[in-house]
C-alpha cells in the first residue's frame, strides 16, 4: 500500500522506503519530568500531552475560568446587548482584569461533585464572593474587590429516592454544610430535599434561611394527572380533601408511575426548579452559577438530542442563559472550558477528596423491576448510556468532547423566547406542534378502525376532566411523561392519577391567568364598562 508524499527524484523502492515519513506529527522531544509551562518545577499532571506542575495547573484552570466568566460580567456591566455573548468574549478583554462588582448576590448550585466543588473553591479562594458585610477593601494589603456581595449555596439532596439496595447514597448535606461553614466566608447554606417540590412550606423555608419574614401560604387546590393515559388529562384536587400524603410519599408515587428511562429527566427538572425557586426568593440575586464542565456539556448535547430537546438545546448549552418568565437573575456556567478530568485533579490537589463525591445515581431512583434494566451494562436511562458512550469514544477519538461542544456552539435558538409559551415542567420554550408531530410520525390509531376507550365503553369520563397536560408540554417533557405501551406490573398497580409538583401547578395556573388576560386584550375594544 503506498503512503504517498514521495519527494521528486526518488524512484527506487529502497529510497521510497527511506522517504516514507510517519503520518503522525512527531511531538517535540520534551522532558516530561519538568513542567512545560514554568519549566522549573517538577511536573505532576499530563493533560492533552502537556505537563503541568501543581501551581501551573491551578493557574491554567483559573485562567480558563476567568476567560469564560469575565467577559460575560463585563458585557452585562457595560450594558452591551449581545444575545449569545460570543462577540463579547472576543471583543472584550479575555480574562484579564476582574469585572466590577455586580451589587447583587450569587446563588451557587452545589451537588457535592468535583466540578461544583471546584467552582465554589475558585470563587471563595479568589475572593469573588464577599461576606455581605459591606467591608471596605484595602487593595494595598492584597485584598480583592468581590464581584458579588453575598453567596448562597443551594444543595438538593436526592438520597431518599434511591431505592436500589445494592447502591448506597447517603445524605451528604451535613458533611457539605460543615465544609461550607468552615470556609468562614459568610456563605449561607440552603439545604433542600427533592421532595420539597411537594412541600407547600418551601417558600417560607427559604425565606427563613435568607432572613426574610414569612408569608401566608396560598392554600389553592392541587392538580392530578393520569400518567397512564397518553393525553395526560388533568383533574383538580379539592382543597378540602382530608388525607394528604407526605411530600416524600407523593414524589415516590409519581416516580414509580414514570418509566425508569424518564426518571432522570424528571429529577433534572426538579433540580432546576428548586434552584430557580431559591434564586427568585432570595433578595437581589443577580446570577446563578452552575458547575457544568465541558464533558458534561457534550453529554448534555447528545442526550438532549436523544430526548428530543433539539429546539431548546441552544438555550441550555449557552454559557449564559436568562430563564423565561422575566427572571431577575442570569444562569452562568463558568466551568464550560474545563474537563471533568481536570476538575477531578483539582479537587485532589486541593485535598477535597474527603468531601467530594460524584454519584448522582438517578438511574436507581424509584422502584426497579428486572425487566427495566434493558440497557447495556444495566443502564436504565439515556443520560447514563450517553455518559458511557462518550467516555469510551474519547479513548479512541480524544477530540470527541471538544468537537461535540464546538458543534453545539454553532446552533442557535430561533424561537421568540420572551413572547413564546413556556413548558410548565421544564420552563423552556415549547416547540410548535410537538403533539401533532408525534402523532403523525407514530400512528397509534387508524382513523376508521380504532375507537377510543370512551366510545367503546359507551361512557364518558366519570372524573371531572378539565385539561390535557399533553397539549401544553414541550416535546421532551411530553416524551418523558408519555406512558410506554408495555407497562410493568409495578406501574399497573398505581391506578389513581398522581399529584403534580407544586411548581408545575403554579405554572399551569399562571398560564390560565395569562390566557384570560390575552383574551381580554383581544376583545377590549368591544367591552362596555367593567365586568
Amino acid at each position: 500500500m503506498s503512503c504517498g508524499d514521495i519527494p521528486d527524484g526518488l524512484t527506487t523502492t529502497e529510497e521510497q522506503g527511506e522517504a516514507l515519513m510517519p503520518r503522525k506529527k512527531k511531538v517535540q522531544r520534551v522532558d516530561k519530568s519538568l513542567c512545560q509551562k514554568c519549566k522549573e518545577s517538577k511536573s505532576m499532571y499530563i493533560i492533552r500531552n502537556v505537563t503541568y506542575c501543581k501551581t501551573c495547573f491551578e493557574v491554567s484552570v483559573f485562567t480558563r475560568f476567568t476567560r469564560t466568566l469575565h467577559p460575560i460580567l463585563k458585557t452585562e456591566a457595560a450594558g452591551v446587548r449581545d444575545k449569545e455573548g460570543k462577540k463579547a468574549r472576543i471583543a472584550l478583554n479575555q480574562g484579564g482584569t476582574r469585572p466590577n462588582p455586580t451589587n447583587g448576590s450569587v446563588v451557587v448550585g452545589l451537588s457535592g461533585g468535583a466540578s461544583s466543588m471546584t467552582l465554589l473553591d475558585l470563587l471563595v479562594d479568589k475572593e469573588y464572593i464577599g461576606k455581605g458585610d459591606d467591608k471596605v477593601i484595602d487593595r494595598t494589603k492584597g485584598e480583592k474587590q468581590p464581584v458579588w456581595n453575598k453567596g448562597y449555596i443551594v444543595h438538593v439532596d436526592f438520597s431518599d429516592l434511591i431505592e436500589d439496595t445494592h447502591t448506597s447514597s447517603p445524605d451528604r448535606s451535613e458533611v457539605l454544610k460543615q465544609w461550607i461553614e468552615g470556609k468562614e466566608n459568610g456563605l449561607v447554606w440552603i439545604g433542600l430535599k427533592a421532595h420539597d417540590v411537594y412541600d407547600a412550606n418551601l417558600t417560607n423555608k427559604i425565606r427563613r434561611i435568607a432572613g426574610l419574614p414569612e408569608t401566608q401560604e396560598d392554600a389553592s387546590s392541587g392538580l392530578k394527572v393520569d400518567l397512564k393515559n397518553p393525553d395526560l388529562p388533568l383533574f383538580p384536587i379539592p382543597s378540602s380533601s382530608s388525607s394528604t400524603p407526605t411530600p416524600l410519599a407523593q414524589l415516590r408515587t409519581i416516580l414509580a408511575t414514570l418509566p425508569p428511562a424518564s426518571r432522570p429527566s424528571f429529577l433534572s427538572s426538579i433540580l432546576d426548579s428548586l434552584i430557580g425557586t431559591a434564586a427568585e426568593i432570595i433578595p437581589s440575586v443577580s446570577h446563578v452559577l452552575l458547575g457544568e464542565t465541558s464533558t458534561r456539556q457534550a453529554q448534555r448535547l447528545i442526550s438532549g438530542t436523544a430526548l428530543g430537546k433539539g429546539y431548546t438545546l441552544p438555550l441550555e448549552l449557552a454559557v449564559t442563559n436568562k430563564p423565561m418568565c422575566n427572571a431577575k437573575y442570569t444562569i452562568l456556567k463558568p466551568m464550560k472550558e474545563i474537563t471533568i478530568k481536570e476538575v477531578a485533579i483539582y479537587t485532589h490537589l486541593k485535598g477535597l477528596n474527603g468531601v467530594v463525591r460524584n454519584d448522582r445515581k438517578w438511574d436507581y431512583s424509584g422502584p426497579i423491576s428486572k425487566k427495566d434494566s434493558r440497557g447495556k451494562d444495566h443502564t436504565r436511562s439515556l443520560e447514563s448510556l450517553t455518559e458511557q458512550f462518550i467516555a469510551s469514544l474519547g479513548v479512541t477519538h480524544p477530540a470527541t468532547v471538544s468537537t461535540i461542544n464546538r458543534t453545539g456552539d454553532k446552533l442557535t435558538f430561533t424561537g421568540e423566547k420572551e413572547k413564546g409559551v413556556s413548558c410548565p415542567v421544564c420552563q423552556m420554550p415549547v416547540d410548535p406542534n410537538a403533539l401533532e408531530w408525534k402523532s403523525r410520525t407514530a400512528l397509534t390509531a387508524l382513523p376508521e378502525k380504532t375507537q377510543t376507550d370512551h366510545e367503546r365503553n359507551g361512557t364518558n369520563a366519570e372524573l371531572d376532566e378539565k385539561d390535557s397536560l399533553a397539549t401544553m408540554l414541550c416535546y421532551a417533557c411530553l416524551t418523558t411523561f408519555t406512558p410506554p405501551t408495555v407497562v410493568s406490573k409495578a406501574v399497573k398497580q398505581e391506578t389513581t392519577p398522581v399529584r403534580l409538583p407544586l411548581w408545575v401547578e403554579q405554572n399551569l395556573r399562571r398560564r390560565k391567568e395569562v390566557d384570560r388576560d390575552g383574551m381580554r386584550d383581544e376583545i377590549k375594544d368591544f367591552l362596555i364598562g367593567e365586568e
Binding site: M1, S2, C3, G4, R23, E84, P259, A261, L301, I302, G304, T305, A306, L307, G308, K309, G310, Y311, L313, P314, G375, K376, T379, R380, S381, L382, L385, F389, L393, T400, T403, I404, R406, T407, G408, K410, L411, T412, T414, D431, W437, K438, R440, T441, A442, L443, T444, A445, L446, K449, T450, Q451, R456, Y475, A476, T479, T482, P484, T485, V486
Partner: protein, 361 residues
C-alpha cells in the same frame, strides 16, 4: 391465557408487536399503519411528489429499497400519485456482495414491472470498490463509495430523464447521521440531513419516504409480505465511524424505542447561526466533469485523481490542486449532462410496460 386482540382494530388476534410504539397489532393492521405512515410522510405539507413526475428508486437489492419499490408501487396505485416509477441500481464492484444483490434487483424488476437501469463504478470511474479498498484500506473507503455513488445516482437519473430520486433511507439511518454529524462537527450536513427532500441548484431532487420508518419495521414488513431481498451487510463497513453511532443508537432504542424519532425531531429543530450559514461555500460546477461542487474540482474528481496517482489519504484532504485538466494518462469522469436526451439510453423495460405497449385498447 386468552389471545390479545389487536390494539388497532380490536377484532383480529394480535400477532406482532410494533417496534416503534410497542403496540400489539394484527398483520393487516400492521401493513396498513406502516403504509399509512409512509403515505403521510409523502403527502405532508405540499407533498414530495408532483403529478406526472418521473421517479427513480435507488435500488440496491437490500431490504430498504425492495420494500420501498413495493410500497411506492402500492401507494402510487392506491392514492393515485400519478408517478412514473423506475429502478436505478449502482454496481460498486464488490465481489460476493454487490454482484449477488443485483440479482435481487433484477427479480424486483420482474415482480413490480418497473424499468431498470444499472450503472457501474467501473464504467463510470474505471475503479471498483474492491480495487479502491486494495489501495486505500478499510478505514476511509466509505468516503469514496459514498461520493462516487451520489454522483453515479445523479448521472443514472439524468440518463433516464427522471426529475426525482427516492432512496430507502430509514429512520435509523437518519438518526445515526444526526448523531454522527454532531460527533464529527459536520455542521453543513447537520443542517440538511433531516430534510425529507434535499435539492441544490441544478441537481436532481432526492427524497426519503422512509424517513420515519424504523428499520425493524421494514424488515417485519418484508418478512410478512414475503418480499425477496439480499440481506448481508457490506463487507467493508465494520470499521467505519458510523459503526459507533449505530451501536449507540441501538442501545438507546433498547432503553426507549421512541429515541430514534426523538433524535430526528431534534435534528429537524436544529438551526445554524447566521454567521455559520454565510461561511459555508457557495455551489459551483466542477471544472473537469461539470457536476455540482463546492470547490473547483468536485470531490469525485479529486478522489479519482488521488486514486489514479496512487495517493490515497491525500485525496481526502480539503485542499486540492485547482487545475481543471487531469494529468495525462489518468482516467476522468465523463461530462455531466443534467438534461440528457431521453431516447439515448433506454432502461431495460419491465414486463408491465412491454405489455402496455402491445395491449390492444
Amino acid at each position: 391465557m386468552p389471545p390479545t386482540p389487536c390494539s388497532l382494530c380490536r377484532t383480529a388476534r394480535a400477532l406482532v408487536k410494533r417496534p416503534k410504539t410497542g403496540q400489539q397489532v394484527c398483520k393487516d393492521c400492521f401493513f396498513e399503519v406502516f403504509e399509512t405512515e409512509v403515505h403521510n410522510t409523502i403527502v405532508e405539507g405540499k407533498g414530495i411528489f408532483e403529478r406526472g413526475e418521473r421517479v427513480a428508486i435507488g435500488a440496491s437489492g437490500g431490504k430498504d429499497s425492495t420494500v420501498l419499490a413495493h410500497v411506492l408501487s402500492v401507494l402510487n396505485k392506491r392514492y393515485d400519485y400519478g408517478l412514473d416509477l423506475f429502478l436505478l441500481s449502482i454496481d460498486e464492484g464488490i465481489t460476493g456482495y454487490r454482484d449477488d444483490s443485483l440479482e435481487t434487483v433484477k427479480q424486483n424488476q420482474v415482480e413490480y414491472g418497473l424499468p431498470l437501469k444499472i450503472l457501474s463504478y467501473n464504467e463510470l470511474y474505471g475503479w471498483t470498490m474492491d480495487k479502491i479498498v486494495e489501495q486505500v484500506g478499510r478505514r476511509n473507503n466509505c468516503t469514496f463509495c459514498g461520493v462516487f455513488r451520489r454522483q453515479a445516482l445523479d448521472r443514472g437519473a439524468a440518463q433516464l430523464g427522471v426529475d426525482h430520486i427516492v432512496t430507502g433511507h430509514n429512520a435509523d439511518d437518519i438518526a445515526e447521521t444526526v448523531l454522527m454529524n454532531i460527533m464529527r462537527g459536520d455542521i453543513a450536513r447537520l443542517g440538511r440531513c433531516t430534510a425529507v427532500t434535499t435539492r441544490s441548484e441544478d441537481t436532481i431532487k432526492r427524497s426519503k419516504p422512509f424517513k420515519y420508518a424504523y428499520e425493524k419495521e421494514i424488515v417485519m414488513y418484508a418478512y410478512f409480505k414475503k418480499l425477496t431481498y439480499f440481506s448481508t451487510e457490506c463487507i467493508y463497513s465494520p470499521d467505519a465511524y458510523r459503526g459507533h453511532a449505530r451501536v449507540f443508537l441501538k442501545d438507546l432504542e433498547a432503553i426507549r424505542p421512541s429515541a430514534i424519532v426523538d433524535i430526528i425531531h431534534s435534528g429537524e429543530s436544529f438551526q445554524l447561526e447566521q454567521s455559520v450559514q454565510k461561511g459555508m461555500k457557495a455551489m459551483q460546477t466542477c471544472l473537469r466533469c461539470g457536476y455540482i461542487s463546492s470547490n473547483d474540482l468536485c470531490k469525485a474528481c479529486a478522489l479519482l485523481e488521488g486514486l489514479e496517482a496512487g495517493l490515497d489519504r491525500s485525496a481526502l484532504r480539503q485542499k486540492q490542486d485547482n487545475s481543471s485538466a487531469a494529468p495525462t494518462g489518468h482516467r476522468t469522469i465523463p461530462m455531466f449532462e443534467r438534461y440528457s436526451n431521453v431516447g439515448v439510453s433506454q432502461p431495460t423495460e419491465g414486463i408491465e410496460k412491454a405489455v402496455q405497449a402491445i395491449e390492444i385498447r
